[in-house]
Amino acid sequence: MLLAEQALNGLQYGMMLFLMAAGLTLVFGVMGLINLAHGSLYMIGAFACAAVAAATGSFWLGMAASLAAAAAAGAVVEMAVIRRLYARDHLDQVLATFALILFFSEGTRWVFGSFPLYLTLPSALSGAVTLPGGLQYPVFRLVIIAVGAAVALGLWLLITRTRLGIRIRAGEADREMIGALGVDIARLYTIVFALGAALAGLAGALVGSIQSVQVGMGEPVLILAFVVIVIGGIGSVKGALVGALLVGMTDTLGKALLPGLLATVMDPSSANTIGSALASMMIYILMAVILIARPQGLYGARA
């Protein structure tokens, strides 16, 4: 029973990670942009949701606001900053988006103050339900699984099945050439970047609802999102999904099982500390092992 619940938790955590990484899959995986400010867009989504939900009393309006605010921020960032960097070294993107993190974090703190905000779930989504088999599970976590799956499917269709997806990938390969063929890649990139930002914002609002909405909440997300995408192989939605689930499972099961396993060979107290130390290193060990064995990620094509 515990194991079943932990497996479900792993799945759920994986889906949550996928949601966090979904926007980055577009921007980084497909457009090839190293966007360190992804976590900031995630934070903007969460703050917008919390602020609007607090002002209007409606979680749903908050959701809509998170999409709109993050997409708008994304579009502005793309047009004001990122657009000038396509022709440059990737490293300039690193510096520029690092600068954006500083700006957005402190800007958010300036607007919303230093204290965490409050985001409450509508009653339809709160509480727990009893699953077949008698397992009690929070409704909202099931919602996250569902939204994650829907986003995955949508992204996959968008990238592999639509002309838009082909064009973005072409734009990443040779931006000048796709323009010369009559595709307005600049506008397309703005749209896709904004879409990626909106997804980040959505994740921020959803995940923020059960975590905390505060300045700095985006930073761990940033690293995890990159980990997930890179494990899966850059540019592959399927890879990101598998990567997310793998990381989710590893992390959850690592935390749940390692201390117990170690306790069989050492005293419980050090098993606890060592076990949880190992558990926190687990996803990085996973990433290193995968990339050393498969240098282009699980589903990556590019060398």
């Binding site: 990938r169 040779d174 000048e176 050439m177 063929l181 009559g182 595709v183």
Partner: protein, 229 residues
């Protein structure tokens, strides 16, 4: 009647290095014009200006009477300019089919017709362009430009790296396109073939037009002087 493409006294630079000094060229609807000159004289640069990949620093570019000197590259392409660039520049991570589809616009040219022109491509539809052989990539670049169904096709060394049979196939294709009423601007090193399709020729030397005239006017003296033949 206004010419399809009218270039007047065009100048352009790469950074601080000027590459075009005074380039003029006229291409009438339905014509095939050859752009000729030695290596490094400015042929590709001219084409980059026409397709708005390189900003002109002076002079004017008109497409069917419309001033396009300040338009964006996609706008010019949408007006009906199809480009087969120097060096192929296929989208490496995309498959052959995706490369063909990526910028396709409606018209007589579709995947089926391109495949009929290049059967080799039909066999390799799901292969990513990166792993195609050099010649296959060249075919793909031509097919990709045709798929945009242009009014004006620009071929910059489009036969480079192609096997002789295929090259002949391409020239046949070019004659066919011309017969269909398509206008073509081309750069190629095969004088013999150019002579059979081009209506007129423009010779560039150090970024300036030094000779313009009907293809019959291209005398051995001229080719010796400007092309080193």
């Amino acid at each position: 009647m206004t010419a399809l493409l009218q270039i007047d006294r065009l100048t352009a630079s790469y950074g601080s290095v000027q590459a075009l000094f005074d380039l003029s060229l006229t291409l009438e609807e339905g014509q095939v014009v050859a752009l000729m000159g030695r290596n490094g004289m400015g042929k590709t640069t001219t084409i980059r200006c026409i397709t708005r990949l390189l900003p002109a620093t002076g002079g004017s570019l008109r497409l069917a009477g419309q001033d396009v000197t300040r338009l964006s590259a996609p706008r010019v392409a949408q007006l009906g300019v199809g480009l087969v660039p120097e060096g192929r520049r296929c989208f490496a991570p995309l498959t052959v089919a995706e490369n063909l589809l990526v910028a396709a616009r409606p018209g007589p040219w579709d995947t089926a017709r391109v495949c009929a022109l290049f059967p080799r491509l039909a066999e390799r539809m799901t292969q990513v362009a990166r792993t195609l052989s050099g010649g296959e990539q060249q075919m793909l670049a031509i097919g990709r430009a045709l798929m945009t169904n242009p009014r004006l096709l620009i071929l910059d060394e489009a036969t480079e790296g192609l096997a002789p049979v295929v090259r002949q196939e391409i020239w046949r294709g070019v004659r066919q396109l011309k017969a269909d009423g398509l206008s073509i601007l081309l750069v190629d090193k095969s004088l013999k073939e150019i002579a059979t399709v081009a209506d007129s020729a423009v010779i560039v030397e150090r970024g300036a037009t030094v000779w313009t005239g009907g293809i019959d006017g291209l005398t051995p003296e001229l080719t010796d002087r400007y092309l080193g033949v």
